[in-house]
Amino acid sequence: MKRYLPLLALFAALPLQAETPQQILDALVAQAGPASAARGEQLFRAKSTAGKTADACTSCHTDNPKAPGQHVKTHKTIDPLAPVAQKDRFTDPAKVEKWFKRNCNEVLARACTAQEKADFTAYMISVK
């Protein structure tokens, strides 16, 4: 029982912050204007010369957002990015912001714009 406690705590905490991917996209669109899934896909696949460890999103997340990825350095498995394959993706705004911050900085060596975040999120939601 004891080892399920963290899990229970997780379920208990979820309703406080859970949103749908569409709500998260709407919030980003409110800052950026209309989102384009096509531009989001370009961003996802683009090679960057600024990356320190990873030179594209796909370095860790693979070409297929529905497939599990693997961290290029630690080799830890990463859950798929697309909500269709991984239900908890794009449901926690703080988590979404955290990873845009870390990973944009990692791959592009800069923060992503609100437009880029909206496009990227729109693409991930569009993957079926």
């Binding site: 963290p6 460890t53 693997q70 350095k73 080799h75 830890k76 870390r102 990692e106």
Partner: protein
Amino acid sequence: MDHAGLNWKNLLTLALAVGATAFAIARAPADDEAIFPMPAGKTYLNECGSCHTAFAPGLLPARSWRKMLAGLTDHFGEDASLDEPQRLAILKDLETLAADTPQANLRMRRINGAIPGNAAPQRITESGYFKFMHDEVPRHIWQRKKIGTPGNCLACHTRANEGRYGEREVRIPQ
């Protein structure tokens, strides 16, 4: 004297004794299993366990963790910075459960004992204890795609994120 060699009674006794011993071993409490205390809550797992195994704090002494958490903007080449309240909370957990705390279990003491007092090592995999425990693992196993690096504890120690490194729970991926 009766011959004490092969007869059904002796064989049966032997079989029962072996069976009972095997049963006892299989069910024995995991006293000497490598089990390390882990921070409560999910902050440590979420913040430190996303990019790599949520390494048990007891694998390094507190001074190592203090040094590590003072340099998160360049964490093995990556920016792993945390906001300050979270950083302090995680540091406190790490210090409380580190290898050199008074409550450390036998295994943690052994790990700490192998680290010079003036060193603050940052890589668990470079410790004498780690190398000793993994000396039977050949290079080609480490190089398997699903493992890749000795720091990928979770690849083989399926419950490493719960602080469990026992040999019985090792599953080496193909």
